[in-house]
Symmetry: C2
Subunit: 97 residues, 2 copies
Amino acid sequence: MKDEQIDALAKILKSMSHPIRLKILCLLQNRELSVGDIRNQVETTNANISQHLNILRAQGIIEFRKEANFIYNRITDRRILDMITKMQKLFCPDHKE
Amino acid sequence: MKDEQIDALAKILKSMSHPIRLKILCLLQNRELSVGDIRNQVETTNANISQHLNILRAQGIIEFRKEANFIYNRITDRRILDMITKMQKLFCPDHKE
DNA sequence: CAGGTATTAAATTAAATGCTAAAATAATTT
DNA sequence: AAATTATTTTAGCATTTAATTTAATACCTG
């Protein structure tokens, strides 16, 4: 594994390694959600969620579409979805899909 | 996935998400290595590597055994090894095992 | 257009992280 | 015991990150 690949992967892991961002990714596993939807399931402010979403967007992990005054977010990178699935199997063996 | 599981997993990801630590984990994938061995493959100081190893140890990701005045490190958690393998397949498709 | 809702942006503060150099341990050899 | 090798620890500094507050933007409805 080349150093550049390691650096790129480290960046991805870093962007996933905050509890709020990891939870957001789990919530987005099977569906798309607005900031408000996420806000209802994560104990923090809208502004804070917006910041975390920005980090995930900058990393290219999630994309969004605009509808009315809602913004719906979804995971675009299949590899990220695969990683989340794998991690759930490894670290939460009782997880139901 | 419960919040406590998410928090625990976020910690693991965080400890893996530094380029030097991720590289150390890749180097330790198939073998155990001393600090000096690692030092020869990572461009930094012994002290710095020692610090990163401490973070990985505190997280329970690696263990070590002492022999003479060398300390040999290895990955103890099979789930971490599985994750690294999976990530290599996903993000470095040309990777030879 | 006025008022309301959803989201983002910017600025501030506090806390965590990472690196370096130097000193401290520990085991080994001479 | 002194010198050497391998590793760890500590302290200081600079950088980065996270959360909060406040202000701004965008879109809808009446």
